[in-house]
């Protein structure tokens, strides 16, 4: 897309566009496909509900315990989201809107934390900041005082690590929004005498709100459903209690009941996000967006650079450095790479298939939610509920469901893809929906009124505007799938391991050098497609 002269610069509140379009077979197909996606997600949920309602589910665990756990979990997720915003927003603003040195490199690196599984990040920080970690031994050597100066274990450690690995969700979407909002609006406001801060508060922030909310939601839900890092950091929350009920007490109803509470909380959060989003949103009327002229930072350039470096230091450089130091020599690293090539292939195949499917389904579902009203408006919400089911619970639900009703699918790789889709469709739907929110429905209307067919609208109007988002969403789902561990552990066919499963096995068996080498391999290949996509986009090749 070349920079074009803005021909009609305006933003306007996006009202609901009349949906009284004649229903076409195209729309019907859209609806049917979306309903199928909703069914895919609903089936394990209904199963959960049925086991949660069995008598005795509330015997094993008291109501006050559930309430306390819910409070702790919600507080943890909220604080992790705030921490992620603190990391993401300044970084996004620096790399998109200012002339901070190294901005394009920072933009690249800002995504890497997503490729670092939370359990690996937790392990590296335990090695560093644990009671007998590197930092404590340095401080002891330095001061001569033996003691625990820092201790990563516990609630605050959990928040710290979760924020570090999830802030790119916000960073990515906000970067995209900052790039695609028309800078002319801000410039006009400036020329009309509004100050920098005023422009930010009254123009930039409202335009960024959908992206911040969408990214924040992903962080929040991630923090609520994370098991790996929280269990390693000895934090007692919903997911760890569910795991305990399920795997120690073999109490399916108690774990189903707890999982269902988690799903209810997710429903509340999704509804809350919707209310916030509807409270006034803004769309750009023109189809082309010009890139904003970077704000010169002047003497703040190097402090800005230092800030970006420290954010990336905490989230990327430090974990990678710890892993590199654990992995041993380059020769050992190469040996592990060669030995584990087959598992990498498994992971890559699964993640690519899942990412492609998720983008297609996400597009269909988001479009159904926006254009088929009222019948379709609930579907995106339903599809997003899968994100709340903890991986272990989802895995066991799917075993029971599919082994009973579709035994030909169970024990195959295809079932893994089903599980990944249930877990990660949220990301696709959120991403596509946020992008659609930024496109004026009148643009589509106008095209339709000029007799463009729905598919032509999709191809010639929506696709070019959505393309960056679609590639982004594809990469996001790819990344999440590459890292998935909990459900994979249960659903993988015997003899079929993925990279995270290998990392898990070697970690449990205390072969840390191997686990670290594999982690590096996993992180590298998880990040790679994203880096390629960004590079191609920068070169305007896609």
């Amino acid at each position: 897309m070349k920079d074009a002269q803005p021909n009609a610069i305006a933003t306007m509140p996006a009202g609901t566009v009349s949906a009284d379009r004649k229903s076409s077979p195209f729309m019907a197909l859209l609806f049917i496909l979306s309903a199928m996606a909703a069914g895919l997600v609903l089936s394990p949920l209904l199963y959960l509900l049925s086991s949660a309602l069995k008598p005795g589910a509330l015997q094993a665990i008291s109501v006050p315990t559930v309430v306390t756990l819910a409070g702790k979990t919600l507080a943890l997720a909220t604080l992790a989201t705030v921490w992620a915003m603190v990391l993401a927003l300044p970084l996004a603003w620096l790399v998109i809107r200012t002339d901070v040195p190294g901005r394009s490199l920072f933009r690249w690196l800002g995504v890497i934390p997503l490729a670092i599984p939370s359990y690996i990040a937790a392990l590296t920080y335990i090695a560093l900041l644990g009671p007998v970690g590197t930092v404590n031994s340095w401080l002891t050597a330095l001061t001569g005082v033996h003691g625990q100066w820092v201790n990563i274990y516990g609630y605050w450690g959990g928040i710290f690590v979760l924020g570090l690995v999830t802030y790119p969700y916000i960073f990515l979407l906000v970067c995209g929004a900052l790039e695609s909002t028309n800078p002319a609006v801000e410039e006009t406001a400036r020329s009309l005498g509004e100050g920098r801060l005023g422009v930010f508060r009254r123009i930039t922030l409202p335009m960024l709100r959908p992206s911040i909310l969408a990214g924040g939601l992903l962080v929040f839900l991630y923090a609520m459903s994370d098991f790996g890092s929280l269990s390693l950091l000895r934090v007692h929350v919903f997911t760890t209690e569910i795991y305990h009920q399920l795997n120690t007490r073999f109490d399916q109803s108690a774990s189903a009941m707890l999982s269902f509470v988690l799903v209810l909380i997710t429903i509340a959060v999704l509804l809350g996000q919707r209310v916030l989003l509807n409270r006034g949103s803004y769309v750009t009327v023109t189809g082309t967006a010009r890139v904003a002229r970077p704000i010169p930072l002047g003497r703040w350039r190097w402090p800005g650079f230092a800030l970006a470096c420290s954010i990336l230091g905490l989230s990327v450089f430090i974990p990678l450095a710890v892993l590199l130091s654990q992995a041993g020599s380059a020769g050992q690293l190469a040996e592990v790479f060669g030995e584990q090539w087959g598992f990498l292939k498994n992971s890559l195949g699964l993640a690519s298939a899942t990412a492609l499917a998720a983008v297609l389904i996400g597009l269909v579902v988001a479009q159904t939610g926006r254009r088929i009203k009222p019948a379709g408006s609930g579907i995106p919400g339903i599809v997003q509920l899968g994100y709340a089911i903890p991986g272990t619970v989802l895995g066991l639900s799917l075993i029971l469901l599919y082994n009973t009703y579709a035994p030909w699918l169970y024990g195959t790789v295809a079932l893994l893809i089903v599980a990944y889709l249930i877990r990660f469709l949220t990301q696709a739907v959120q991403g596509v929906d946020a992008a659609l929110a930024g496109i004026n429905p009148h643009l589509e209307e106008a095209a339709r009124s000029l007799a463009a067919t729905p598919s032509r609208v999709l191809r010639q109007v929506l696709a070019p505007l959505l393309r960056p988002t679609l590639f982004g969403v594809c990469a996001l789902v790819f990344i999440s799938t590459m890292k998935e561990l909990d459900a994979t552990l249960l659903l993988r066919p015997a003899g079929f391991d993925t990279l995270p499963v290998r990392v898990y096995i070697h970690t449990v068996e205390a072969e840390y050098a191997k686990a670290a080498a594999l982690s590096l391999m996993l992180i590298g290949f998880t990040a790679l497609p994203w880096l390629v996509v960004t590079r191609l986009r920068e070169k305007k090749l896609i």
């Binding site: 120690t248 075993i399 790789v413 552990l489 015997a494």
Partner: protein, 345 residues
């Protein structure tokens, strides 16, 4: 309406067609089940411990094996969920009580290997549903830099003494061996005594960790002076160059002894490869199989007379006489007891 139809014919159908072709092309790969004729083993024992045995078995018999390694409890749950259409042939667990629980749920087929006779009665099912394949003793692991030789506790009941305050670690009940240990205390000493003892440990700042790996690593690195864990972890820590020592607690004439938990194997009911599963059990109990278990993971050989190498053999350890059936019965009450003390168990 016409335009809608055109879209379906010219745009949607080709896309669907391509997707369908792609699916047909990829389906065999995606839908492939484990190769027919492969023995499917669900192992709660570590890969490092079981894989050498599996490889030797395949080499000897030519039977290929698909191995799924996980936590004993997670795999047990999987077998329970798969009851209607079993996928695994053989289950290998790290503890006997869980075998009794699954056997009671009708998930196993009995099998008496010719070698099972040699397995001591404590380490096999009375109804032939499962058999022990090796053992692990409950031990006190200590860090040699933090605990002097003469201070090493000789009894688990000494750990409530003030000198150990803030220095103790144990894995939570996610490790079935922890549960078995507490259940043994309940069986030997009574529930009230056990509750008071555990309260004493909590008052002494006992740290409850996620698994035994964390325990031996924590002790080895000096985060804790003392850990309650299983015997192979001592040898493992030592092999990793960590400064650890071991005490087999409560060995005096009037003491209760320390339990040995069997690693156990059972044939899953409805297994597609039952004969191969039987042959695997035969192999594990053979001198070759036992030797591999001992050398690969420092497990205690279960067939008497086997050379235990550097591992302390079963006959040198005084053990309480609590049956695995009793442990299975006690599992639920013990979990309730622990939940009443701390949510961390």
């Amino acid at each position: 309406m016409r335009s809608g139809l055109n879209i379906i014919i010219f745009r949607v159908l080709p896309v669907l067609g391509i997707l369908l072709l792609g699916f047909v092309w990829l389906a065999p790969a995606f839908l492939a089940h484990a190769a027919a004729g492969s023995l499917v083993i669900y192992s709660g024992r570590k890969e490092k411990a079981i894989k050498p045995v599996v490889e030797a078995f395949t080499k000897l018999t030519g039977i290929p094996v698909d191995l799924k390694v996980g936590k004993t409890s997670g795999l047990a749950n999987e077998i329970r969920m798969e009851k209607s259409t079993p996928r695994g042939d053989l289950f290998i667990s790290t503890e006997g009580g869980i075998m009794e629980i699954l056997a009671k749920e009708g998930l196993f087929d009995p099998y008496q290997s010719p070698k099972t006779k040699a397995v001591p009665g404590d380490f096999k099912s009375t109804s032939g549903m499962w058999t022990g394949i090796s053992g692990r003793a409950r031990i006190i692991l200590y860090n040699k830099n933090l605990v002097r030789e003469k201070d090493v506790p000789r009894s688990v009941f000494d750990l409530t003494k003030p000198q150990w305050k803030g220095k103790l670690a144990i894995a939570g009940t996610r490790e079935r061996t922890t549960l078995a240990w507490v259940s043994t205390l309940v069986a030997e000493k009574g529930e009230a005594f056990t509750r008071d003892y555990l309260k004493g440990l909590h008052a002494n700042g006992l740290k409850i960790l996620a698994d035994n790996t964390e325990v031996w690593q924590g002790v080895g690195r000096g985060e804790f002076a003392i850990g309650l864990t299983n015997s192979p972890n001592y040898y493992l820590a030592k092999k990793n160059g960590l400064p650890v020592g071991v005490a087999y607690p409560d060995q005096g004439p009037s003491d209760i002894g320390t339990p040995i938990s069997p690693n156990a194997a059972a044939v899953i009911k409805g297994a597609a490869n039952r004969d191969a599963a039987h042959r695997f059990i035969d192999f594990v109990l053979s001198p070759d199989g036992q030797r591999i278990l001992v050398t690969a993971d420092y497990e205690i050989p279960i067939i008497p007379g086997m050379d235990p190498g550097e591992v302390l053999p079963a006959k040198a350890i005084k053990t309480p006489k609590t049956s695995e059936e009793r442990l299975a019965e006690l599992a639920e009450p013990t979990l309730k007891l622990l939940a009443g003390l701390s949510p961390d168990w």
